[in-house]
């Protein structure tokens, strides 16, 4: 219009050159400092990608992600570039006094930027739907059936018989660090049933690129197949739906084994479980009344003299009066908490932990760790579901401070003073 178009074009060109110069300058400085830009760029792009999938279904989802990602980046660059270009090119310059052309719209343009995005999103919908039908479908030849049971704040894994209901073996230990995890045979189609005992949880394994909610009152089911080449690996999983105070500790591991290793592992565990029937869990004792095996009934027996009663636990401790020097320490678990924050045990002699699990159906144990809950584990009691009691025979410990924890629930901790 009134201002000379030549001068404003020149100005814009100068601005663009200055901007390009600044960007090149930054790159040169980074290169001088030894930053390998190609590596950094590659790392940045791969950080915008999900992990490499370890299931066949996850691999298909990752392929779909690539399609969505490429389209998204292209659209982003075009539109963002258009905005930046417009702002630089059409900023108000000195002398821009006359009004710019008062364009009110353009129907062809409106039509184009309605129809082109429509085509793009319908394409995305169709490819997504195809992938969905491939990854979220019930397989005809399921080879292993597992039921994940979620509860605040733990996972347990029931290995099911072919009928999909009879429990052959229950894995109470959710993570590999404590010798557990959901063992799966790589290369076989696995059907996972998801059951919740209380609130909504979600079964999420990042390397599966998949999650499914665990909803009380309904059984969600999905199939997956871990790549045969990934046997021997362990994949961390975690609850992904807020489930209360211990949400962040609700971890589990998927341990991929070869088919043969898995069969051996499962057969061994089924045999072990049937050889040693867990008496307390089979016949739950009423809470508040311990039924220890091989221990005299604690009726009215006072705490043995010479030993301080466990602090925070004023009731008479279940005495090990008949045992050779064994002293009993009482610990109770209730509501995913230990009722005792600290207990005391004698130094340099074996003692008994009389552990009462008052949580119906929830597995707990008592383990002892050096110093703090994150210290080395030096004793681990059996894990068993409540309501039941067990006596753990703990070997002699040196005087000092220890922590007692529940392996299933890392938020359950207390202090054990050995003196």
């Amino acid at each position: 219009m009134a201002s000379s178009p030549r001068s404003s074009t020149t100005q814009t060109a100068l601005f663009a050159i200055a901007l390009a110069g600044a960007i090149v300058g930054v790159f040169l400085i980074l290169a001088y400092l030894g930053v390998n830009l190609l590596d950094e760029g590659g790392r940045f792009v791969s950080s915008l990608y999900p992990p490499v999938a370890v299931t066949t279904q996850g691999a298909q989802i990752r392929d779909l992600y690539t399609i969505v990602f490429v389209l998204a980046v292209a659209i982003f660059l075009v539109v963002e570039g258009l905005i930046i270009w417009t702002v630089i090119r059409y900023r108000r310059k000195p002398g821009d006094d006359a009004l710019p052309p008062q364009t009110h719209g353009n129907n062809i343009a409106e039509f184009l930027w309605t129809i082109i995005p429509t085509i793009i999103v319908i394409f995305l919908f169709i490819v997504s739907w195809q992938t969905l039908n491939a990854v979220d479908t019930a397989s005809a030849n399921v080879q292993t059936k597992i039921r994940a049971v979620a509860a605040q704040f733990q996972w347990q894994f029931d290995y099911l018989a072919d009928d999909g209901n009879t429990v052959e073996y229950t894995q109470f230990l959710p993570t590999a660090e404590i010798g557990g995890g959901m063992y799966v045979p790589a290369g076989r189609t696995i059907q996972l049933q998801l059951v919740s005992k209380d609130v909504i949880h979600a079964f999420y394994v990042p390397q599966f690129l998949f999650k499914r909610d665990v909803v009380p009152g309904r059984t969600n089911v999905f199939d997956f197949t871990v790549n045969e080449s990934d046997a021997g690996q362990t994949f961390r999983g975690q609850c992904a739906e807020l489930c209360g105070t211990g949400h962040s500790i609700m971890l589990f591991d998927v341990v991929a084994k070869t088919g043969a290793e898995f069969d051996t592992w499962l057969a061994d565990n089924i045999k072990k479980a049937s050889a040693a029937p867990a008496p307390p869990s089979g016949q739950p004792a009423p809470s508040g009344q311990p039924a220890p095996s091989g221990q005299p009934a604690p009726s009215g027996q006072p705490a043995p003299s010479g030993q301080p009663a466990p602090s925070g636990q004023p009731q008479p401790s279940a005495g090990g009066g008949g045992g050779g020097g064994g002293q009993a320490v009482n610990i109770e678990a209730e509501g995913i908490k230990f009722n005792e924050s600290s207990v005391t045990a004698p130094a340099d002699q074996p003692f008994t932990i009389h552990f009462e699990n008052k949580d119906q159906g929830t597995p707990h144990n008592v383990a002892i760790r050096e110093g703090s809950p994150s210290g080395n584990q030096i004793f681990m009691g059996d894990i068993f579901p409540g309501v039941a009691t067990r006596d753990y025979q703990v070997p002699a410990l040196k005087a000092g401070q220890y922590a007692f924890v529940c392996d299933v629930h890392p938020n359950m901790t207390g202090t054990l003073t050995v003196q």
Binding site: P100, D198, L242
Partner: protein, 541 residues
């Protein structure tokens, strides 16, 4: 031509604080809304800093896990229900009657009632902190977690939360009726529907959404209250269904997302033409796109529930994808409003550009979640936290800041400082991206949202530290904002009637406008009556 009007001499027998407490003037109520919303923005922001501080390092150092759950629950509750929604309603309350040439809202006393329910709701929410714990089941308060007292929250916080949300919802419903009646019955002569400023159109669609959706969440809140306190069996199996809660909750809460963005889109659509010295490109297309977003907004709620295993996935997937189309139309109309214009890079335009560039990312990363299998990977991870903040912070909050810098001179009669404003924009833009961009990467790495802690071997710490530094940078930018407001109120330059050479009627009266707004109005022949006056196309009668 001068467009100054005379203030009618209404008797003013109420002064000072008493005047503010008893006012039924839509402008004073609008200012009360804005001030109240900023107050809760700061409270919600402090809670967010608590969350970011805790997540900066593995281990629980700063908060307990119960406190952590309370913090993020109350952060979202304050930000959504007591900051974004009322803030947008507040600016609309101030501006809409002025823009349509009306003396006030249709129901001034109901307008005052709508406002005063908000601080009351806020006090109920805050009471949770001193009655043994606030709500801690997330702002979504999914049943049965929100019904389970011992592990969700320790006190009566969840019940207080329900009561507060019912109050705030009632406030929204009353406000929506008030807006609709005002806009349909009180427009100045000549202001036909297609001459209304775009902000007024977005408020129409927003009010329809509020009116249709808010009663639904009120019902689900009452059912939750009955379940918690009187042993109902709506949402707890056996008998009840937790999925039912989610369906009803999102039937409100997805349209609520558009309640939280449409008026901000209206702000941007007012600001871009003024600072480009051009009309809005494709006015009617923009109106239809707004209506389309509102209509589609009611058919996508279950995309929040793709992983529940209880949703007909293809329907909600295609509807969610389709909502990108009208949103894209708006984006192109905004860009082509600036195209071949003369952009005055003042603070309101900078924040509007922040909106465009960041909302673009928030729109695009939403397409990932519309693709159901990709959502299986991303749902409930930090990716979603990134997405929603790119929409609600990158979109709505940048829109609110643009509106604040744009209308502050009208509301107070004084300009905000440009230099401090630009510094605030730069700091906020950098802080925002530092906080929320790494969350995409964290989500892809597998970090679920709403976890109080993570192990040190997860490899999540570096990105979390960047996000925490970004969070404090945003806080610093808000300190600059407060400083700017203080400077301006103390000694800011006088704004005059129309400091921006704007287009719409609120600039045809004094700053701040007198009670009942106008003594006389310019002729209204287009959606830009003041532009027409300035360029001699119409005259002031």
């Amino acid at each position: 031509m001068a467009t100054t009007t005379l203030a009618p001499t209404a008797p003013t027998y109420r002064t000072g604080l008493y005047a503010w407490l008893t006012t039924t003037d839509h402008k004073k109520i609008g200012v009360l809304y804005v001030v109240n919303s900023f107050l809760f923005f700061f409270i919600g922001g402090l809670l967010a800093l608590g969350v970011r501080t805790e997540l900066a390092a593995p281990g629980l150092q700063f908060l307990t896990d119960t406190q952590y759950n309370e913090f993020f629950t109350m952060h979202a509750t304050f930000m959504i229900f007591l900051f974004i929604i009322p803030m947008l309603a507040g600016f609309s309350n101030y501006v809409v009657p002025l823009q349509i040439g009306a003396p006030d809202m249709a129901f001034p006393r109901i307008n005052a009632l709508s406002f005063w329910m908000l601080p009351l709701g806020g006090i109920l929410l805050l009471l949770g902190f001193v009655t043994g714990g606030t709500a801690a089941a997330g702002w979504t308060s999914y049943a049965p977690l929100s019904e389970d007292r011992p592990l969700a929250a320790t006190g009566y916080g969840q019940d207080l939360w329900i009561m507060a949300l019912v109050l705030i919802g009632t406030s929204s419903i009353l406000g929506a009726i008030n807006f609709l009646v005002t806009i349909f019955k009180m427009r100045a002569p000549g202001m036909t529907l297609f001459r209304m400023p775009i902000l007024v159109w977005t408020v129409v669609v927003t009010s329809v959404l509020v009116l249709m959706a808010t009663p639904v969440i009120t019902s689900v809140l009452i059912m939750l209250f009955i379940d918690r306190n009187y042993g109902g069996s709506f949402f707890q199996p056996p008998g009840g269904d937790p999925i039912l809660y989610q369906n009803i909750f999102w039937f409100y809460s997805h349209p609520a997302v558009y309640v939280m963005i449409l008026p901000a889109m209206g702000f941007i659509s007012e600001i871009l033409p003024v600072f480009s010295r051009k009309p809005l490109f494709g006015y009617k297309a923009f109106v239809f796109a707004t209506a389309a977003i509102g209509a589609l907004g009611f058919s996508v709620w279950a995309h929040h529930m793709f992983t529940t295993g209880a949703v007909y996935l293809p329907f909600f997937s295609i509807m969610t994808f389709l909502i990108a189309v009208p949103t894209g139309v708006k984006m192109f109309n905004w860009v082509f409003t600036m195209w071949r214009g003369q952009l005055m890079l003042k603070t309101p335009l900078l924040f509007a550009l922040g909106f465009l560039t960041m909302f673009l990312i928030g729109g695009i990363n939403g397409a990932f979640s519309a693709s159901v299998p990709v959502d299986f990977a991303l749902h409930d991870t930090y990716w979603v936290v990134a997405h929603l903040h790119y929409v609600l912070f990158g979109g709505s909050v940048f829109g609110v800041m643009a509106a604040t810098y744009y209308w502050f001179p009208k509301m107070t009669g004084r300009m905000l400082n440009e230099t401090v404003g630009k510094a605030q924009f730069v700091l906020m833009f950098i802080g925002f991206n530092a906080t929320f961009f790494p969350m995409h990467q964290l989500g892809l790495l597998g970090m679920p949202r709403r976890i109080a802690d993570y192990a040190s071997n997860t490899g999540w710490q570096d990105l979390n530290i960047v996000a925490t530094i970004g969070g404090f940078t945003i806080a610093a930018s808000m300190v600059l904002f407060l400083w700017n407001v203080f400077l301006s109120l103390r000694s800011g330059p006088v704004a005059g009637d129309d400091p921006w050479e704007a287009n719409t009627l609120e600039w045809a009266t004094t700053s701040p406008p007198p009670a009942y707004n106008f003594d006389r109005l310019p002729e209204i022949r287009s959606e830009r009556p003041l532009f027409d006056v300035r360029h001699g196309r119409t005259s002031v009668h």
